[in-house]
Amino acid sequence: MTAIDPTAHLTAEQIEELGRELDAIRDEVIASRGEKDAAYIRKVISAQRRLELVSRGVLLFSFFPPAWLLGTAGLSVAKIMDNMEIGHNVLHGQWDWMRDPKIHSTTWEWDHVSPSDQWKHSHNELHHTHTNVIGKDNDLGYGIMRVDEDQKWHPFHLGQPLWNFLNACFFEYGIAAYDLELGKNLHKRRRKNPEFRARAKAVGRKIRKQVLKDYVIHPLLSGPSFLTTLAATFTANLVRNIWSHSVIMCGHFPEGVQVFERRSIKGETRGQWYLRQMMGSANISGSRAMHFMTGNLSHQIEHHLFPDLPSNRYAEVAVKVRALFEKYELEYVTGPLPKQVFSAWHKVFRLSLPNKKPKVDAPDREQELVAA
């Protein structure tokens, strides 16, 4: 929680007006969704499948080093496409309007150890509704890190650079554990909860299938390339995990992003909700290829304002959203990937150590809470 509320200069009326202007941007995209958008996602899905097929094919000959490099690179990109531009966005319901049962949030399953339905609950519902609210949005540090000065320090946090690094390497498993709320549910009494057990079983099934595919079946199919294919799939999963972890850290962790207190969202209006999404998210600047590989989460601010708009439209929406930031004199947190990743990591290191409570006069503090 920052000492100075960056939205303090806005009146309640201005915040509601901002909300109306954002609604208008949303309506415009919804009214113009059409054939081109549908063709886009179909093309991406088809390209992803072809790339994965070809890469797996090349890996059958991965004992030959150039084939290993090519196949591993291709498979890494295919897995990133599956998780980012396709999976994350389809599971948000961004393409449900097409009414194609094969590209739908209720039927999609992704190349990830967390089953789609569990991830949808923890991500779409818990994280997106309660974005950056301490104690309600577990994405803030995933329950293993301290990412704000106002969070209580514990000696456990000394190790958080290491936890964060391990989480990056095995990110999909971290997410699965997180979606299961493993920390909370491992208590003796909760472990026996049938609902938790069913979900844990579903995760177990998904992990078994994914591991069998990547580390047994495909290496076996490669025959003499067994070991090199095994290494290739491991590498592709590692690359995908580190990449998506980095992108996702850039969404809410960099310096300049605000967090909120539980009490501040009581009775929140639509305008205030929008404002919280604006102040609680950060973008990544870069080329079109960069936006594509991040699944357009480089437009995290726009995504948090309109999580169900098709991802290919965030770039055009961003221009209008940014103009609103300027109009209302708010800070649009953005920067190139290395800068944002560094900023997020810097915060992880800095907050691994205890800090003094920021000195804020009590009246200001109250005002800030009212405004937020």
Partner: protein, 351 residues
């Protein structure tokens, strides 16, 4: 081991290779019409019939089971990126050598799918198909005398019959606004020239709407004929009354194209069909609240339209998106976000 267990074993292995996708997700990339795929068809040609009607030639996938003359097929077409399903009569004969089937579509005013098919459909496009269905068909035993009574696009299922089976004595009465609006006119006149059909065209722009009692004069022996009638509700209602009034109701077979038209209103009676509850709802209350209020167990999530955790099938009626005002009408497979949708007239939610 039998070949069936071998095959299912091989398929299981394939599924392990492609998980979390299915082998068919990859096969669809190269062969969407293969046996075992979801039933689809490829549009191969679009032939204009009149100013606002066209015949669409479709090559159905290998799973197509074939049709009986007079039946219709539900077809799923992507219009402006959105898949919409409509039913159209099949106009091709059942014994067509090349395995293609045709539907003939008349563009109706504001009709999204019909206008798309008539004016914008391109050869090469994939469409989704259901198996053909419908009991507006000819009987196994050939009737001696036949009457086809049609109007407008109501001629399409009858054309499928005419092309399929020849009868000794066939009369057709067909209504259309003007001669150039008669779909299949050249082909009908060829049949007349070959003495395979007797045809009366009623041009309603000049002759007025057909008064059903005129059949006494147009087809004096109508009551002895096995009759198939298809056209607007007014014509069919009049025909049903006329036939049953003369005690020959069992000789008349009718087909209605548009059974119910949804009129979007503001609020209405909401039925939760799985629970068997019906309640009155206004046009401003989210259906999620309406359901919970009525004691129906509703799936829910963020309650503000962002998480898609509450989506539920809309089985009948229409709903309004409370954020955009957009109306969604029930169609098979249509899901709605109950937390941001309100009743726009009577509707049926599968909960």
């Amino acid at each position: 081991m039998t070949s069936a267990t071998l095959r299912s074993g091989a398929w299981k292995l394939l599924e392990m290779i492609t998980t979390p996708l299915l082998p068919s997700d990859y096969l669809d990339l190269v062969s969407p019409l293969r046996a075992g795929a979801d039933l689809r068809g490829r549009i191969e040609a679009v032939h204009p019939e009149t100013g606002d009607a066209a015949t669409i030639v479709i090559r159905p996938g290998r799973g197509w089971r074939g049709h009986t003359a007079g039946q219709y097929v539900r077809i799923g077409v992507d219009v402006d990126g959105r898949r919409l399903w409509r039913a159209y009569s099949i106009t091709s004969p059942t014994n067509r050598q090349d395995g293609r089937v045709t539907i003939t579509v008349k563009a109706i005013p504001d009709g999204k799918v019909s206008n798309h098919l008539v004016r914008r459909a391109k050869p090469g496009t994939l469409v989704q198909l259901d198996q053909p269905t419908g009991d507006f068909v000819l009987p196994k035993a050939k009737p001696a005398k036949v009457l086809y009574l049609t109007a407008g696009s109501g001629i399409t299922p009858v054309m499928g019959m005419l092309r399929d089976i020849e009868f000794d004595d066939v009369v057709m009465v067909h209504c259309a606004p003007q001669p150039q609006d008669v779909i299949f006119r050249n082909e009908l006149h060829d049949l007349v020239a070959a003495e395979k059909l007797r045809l009366t065209e009623v041009h309603t722009d000049t002759d007025g709407v057909l008064d059903i009692a005129r059949l006494d004069e147009l087809v004096p022996d109508w009551a002895e004929r096995e009759t198939w009638a298809c056209g607007p509700a007014g014509l069919l209602d009049a025909a049903e009354e006329f036939w049953s009034g003369h005690g020959v109701g069992e000789r008349l077979h009718t087909e209605r194209f548009r059974p119910g038209i949804v009129v979007a209103g503001d609020g209405g009676e909401v039925t939760f069909s799985a629970t068997g509850k019906t309640v009155e709802a206004d046009g401003a209350t989210p259906l999620l609240d309406v359901g919970e209020e009525a004691g129906v167990l509703m799936p829910s999530g963020c309650r503000m339209g962002i998480c898609f955790g509450c989506i539920t099938p809309l089985k009948a009626g229409a709903v309004r998106d409370l954020r955009t005002g957009e109306i969604t009408e029930a169609e098979p497979g249509v899901l709605i976000q109950t937390c941001v949708s309100a009743a726009a007239g009577p509707c049926d939610i599968e909960r």
